[in-house]
């Protein structure tokens, strides 16, 4: 094993007393001295700052100079409407395989003369190779060495607007090149917590300055990966490698909302992506299993891997893929896959936990009310 990589903010994490853990080949902060519970609640009530510099940032530039060529090329790898994406806008996407499974989830943005793609840290080498193999003839694929920080929470706009007033004009999923007191920043109004907020890509050399400026505001605290996980779980958002992977299709994962009409049967550019036959058939006819939210009835968290049953003495119907305690709900919360007959909200299922069968109810996600600024 090679030594864990460090993000541009590593020194700051250590100076703030973070508990550092290995994650996707990086040494990352699990939590700061405040602890996961307080960090989570702070993000929901004020603004949390996250170092997500481990994620992959990639520029896809059309060799022809025509953005439509890059968009058409990316559409061959993902079942999303890339050509229809407006300049300065971003979308959630999925790299699929020929069986309809998910290779990774990603964000992609139209930045005028190129596409900007953000992928998961654990998958980034594979994703870049996949992009080069799929788009290399028509596009250059350039991984960026930049810092990436997320500012999330109901007071994120208030804080960031003190440094860059223009961010107040952005709505959910807008992306803008913005000068933040001399820093060349790429700002997206998005995140992965269920809150309003921003993801800010900056040169490595500027990451410390921007972080220091934001942390000087009373609303802003550093938040670690532990709270990032409980925040995204309450928001019903998938964690790649846990809730979605190469064996789960977008329909099984309840992510068909991310497949726009243009790519579905009858659409202007239906199919033409890996696994299209499987995925389009499942959009029309449904899948055998589905990712659902689960609210355990007691206080005991139900963790990843917990097997689910139709009744206390009934057959196995699935398993939990993410689970823990939801600080904002003040209750355990989980998501997992169940057989389609048990996927309707309100269905009672049983989880096998330490030799006991404990009840849980299938619930709609997100578990919290999202704060996205859609306007």
């Amino acid at each position: 094993m090679s030594e864990a990589r460090k993000t541009p903010l590593h020194r700051m994490h250590e100076s703030r007393g973070a508990r550092m853990v290995p994650f996707a080949g990086y040494e990352m902060p699990l939590n700061y001295p405040a602890g996961i519970m307080k960090e989570h609640l702070h993000t929901r009530s004020a603004a949390g700052l996250f170092d997500v510099s481990h994620m992959g940032q990639v520029v896809v530039r059309p060799k022809s100079g025509r953005i439509e060529d890059a968009a058409a090329a990316l559409e061959r790898l993902i079942p999303m409407d890339v050509i229809g994406l407006g300049e300065g806008r971003q979308r959630y996407g999925l790299f699929t395989n020929d069986a309809g499974g998910i290779l990774d989830d990603l964000m992609f943005a139209h930045l005028g003369d190129h596409l900007f793609v953000v992928v998961n840290a654990a998958c980034k080498a594979d994703d870049i190779a996949h992009l080069e193999a799929g788009l290399g003839e028509t596009c250059t694929v350039e991984p960026l060495e930049r810092g990436l920080i997320a500012l999330q929470g109901p007071q994120a706009e208030t804080a960031l607007a003190r440094l860059a007033p223009d961010v107040g004009l952005m709505r959910f999923m807008d992306v803008r090149q913005i000068d933040i007191k001399g820093i060349d920043a790429l700002v997206a109004r998005s995140g992965y917590t269920g809150e309003d907020g921003f993801e800010i890509s900056v040169p490595v050399s500027a990451a410390h300055d921007l972080t220091d400026w934001l942390l000087a505001f009373p609303e802003v605290e550093m938040i670690g990966l532990g709270a990032r996980d409980s925040l995204r779980l309450e928001a019903g958002l998938c964690l790649y490698g846990h809730d979605i992977d190469a064996t789960t299709t977008p329909v099984e994962a309840a992510l068909e909302w991310a497949i726009q009409p243009a790519r579905r049967s009858g659409g202007a550019r239906a199919g033409g992506f890996p696994g299209a036959a499987v995925i389009l058939q499942q959009i029309a006819g449904g899948a055998e299993r589905r990712r659902v939210g689960l609210l355990p009835e007691g206080r005991a968290p139900m963790r990843e891997g917990t097997e689910l049953f139709a009744a206390e003495d009934g057959p196995s119907i699935g398993r939990i893929t993410s689970g823990g305690f939801g600080p904002s709900l003040n209750a355990p919360v989980a998501m997992g896959y169940v057989a389609i007959d048990h996927a309707a909200p309100g269905t009672r299922v049983f989880a096998s936990l330490r030799g006991k069968m404990l009840p849980a109810t299938v619930a709609k996600m997100p578990f919290i009310r999202p704060g996205y600024k859609r306007r």
Partner: protein, 120 residues
């Protein structure tokens, strides 16, 4: 008498019983507790048996019986409010009381100085 185990439990003698909890060091390592499951009062336990399940936001852990004996009382206040263990691990955040099969075995555990060295 206050004694400690390598599993970061503390034991305080209280008449014929010992009170058992986990140390502040343990709570710092575990983080915020959100769930506690305690043993049945009256249960006979052997050293090393998993008698308590605790869960933090991130993970589940087991607490084992520090010595052979019988559980005489459990602290239901920490079931209602697991955060009590983080706030006051050495007093109000105790887990259970037990009588020891061999009271002399308590002598063999670490004292406070030895435990401080152990976690240093």
């Amino acid at each position: 008498m206050l004694k400690f185990t390598e599993e970061h439990e503390w034991l305080r003698q209280d008449g014929d019983e010992v009170i058992v909890g986990i140390t502040e060091h343990a709570t710092q390592q575990l983080g915020d507790l959100v769930f506690v499951e305690l043993p049945e009062e009256g249960a006979t336990v052997a050293k090393g048996d998993e008698v308590v399940t605790i869960e933090s936001v991130k993970a589940a852990s087991d607490i084992t019986a520090p010595l052979d004996g019988q559980i005489t009382e459990v602290n239901s206040a920490i079931v209602e409010n697991p955060a009590l263990v983080n706030e006051d691990p050495m007093e109000n955040g105790w887990f259970f009381k037990m009588t020891l099969a061999e009271p002399s075995e308590l002598e063999g555990l670490m004292d406070e100085d030895a435990y401080r060295d152990y976690i240093a």
